[in-house]
Symmetry: C3
Subunit: 152 residues, 3 copies
């Protein structure tokens, strides 16, 4: 008899494409409060809603390795910001302000997260360190994404 038909095409390769987690948020106004999570309220990208705009925290649902970065406008006073993971400050960024010399401060970090972990930014110290500024032509932003998901 004749040979059979060709087999079916193989399955699509396992793709990192099934594991999406990314957010990019900003501020409409200067940060009013210190020692609490900065609540970013301007949303450039937050399709999965893993950044919680009520708590101000990124909430990890997909375990894996994540990249985070922030870029802050420093104005009216000095700024000291810490990136927190689960109530512990992991990294600190400090920039002093001088009259008439608006500055930019930024940071980036790669962290392995478990499901349920939370990551956020907050002013570290009293209000003298609260110079994170924003208005309609000055942004301060916080972004993050899942780089490598854990394989279940």
């Amino acid at each position: 008899g004749f040979p059979g038909n060709p087999g079916l095409k193989g399955a699509q390769g396992e793709s990192a494409l099934l594991y999406h987690s990314s957010f990019s948020v900003g501020l409409t106004d200067p940060v009013p409060a210190t020692n609490v999570p900065i609540r970013f309220n301007k949303f450039f990208h937050n399709e999965q809603h893993h950044y919680n705009d009520v708590s101000g925290k990124f909430h990890c649902l997909l375990p894996g390795v994540y990249f985070f970065t922030y870029h802050l406008t420093v104005y009216t006073k000095d700024a000291r910001v810490s990136l927190f993971k689960n109530d512990k400050p992991v990294m600190f960024t400090y920039d002093q302000y001088h009259e008439g010399n608006v500055d930019q401060a930024s940071g980036a970090l790669i962290l392995r997260l478990q499901s349920g972990d939370e990551v956020w930014l907050q002013i570290y110290g009293d209000e003298d360190f609260g110079g994170v500024y924003a208005d309609n032509t000055n942004d301060s932003t916080f972004s993050g994404f899942l780089l490598y998901p854990d394989m279940g």
Copy 2:
């Protein structure tokens, strides 16, 4: 008669690794013009040529979620730069310059793009805001990459 031989094995599934878009560009000289796209002319990485060095714009061919970041040397005067998406300023970075105090300003953003969308940087405002500087030991750069392609 006997049945024929089995058919050929099916084709391999689609690879997750086919979706590449990334660029990393810089400047050889200070930015001369305001309110037009900054034309980066130093190429660290632009294999797909999705950054167009004539227009100064990143041109999206693969729809999906993209990460962009820029790091600018601020020298001789203040700098205000905006990241544009399709003729609309999406994000603003402002850094003031003081005599003898060269600064660095930076930004990052995640955006979902459709095929045909364009993203670029430009000085926002008149020449007083044009202090984006570069020479052979001072870089100002713009980079971006496809983070999560849309599945077709």
Copy 3:
């Protein structure tokens, strides 16, 4: 006779999830030495140990396209840092320090690397350019990750 059986199903497409390389490191103290690799000694993430804490260099084992970024605290004097690829400075970041005005300087770059390539940061110039600072509430960091692995 009858046609043969259908062929076997094709192999699964190649997974993007097998290729991991990422690191995120910082400093516990100011950088003492110029014109040698900065040896970051604080480890936020370095599971693959591709960042070598003895040499201070990222060592590429998986060829492909990589993203690197650094965020530096500038304090006590000016800072000029270069990102090196295999003994050649590829990019320069310069920030001047003024008394009482701590600054932040940062850079990012995308590079295609071959297996065996090395990437690191070092102060470029004499000790007058060595103002990269760190202590327990002021970080200076260097991070990188594999964005797109080469297909073998």
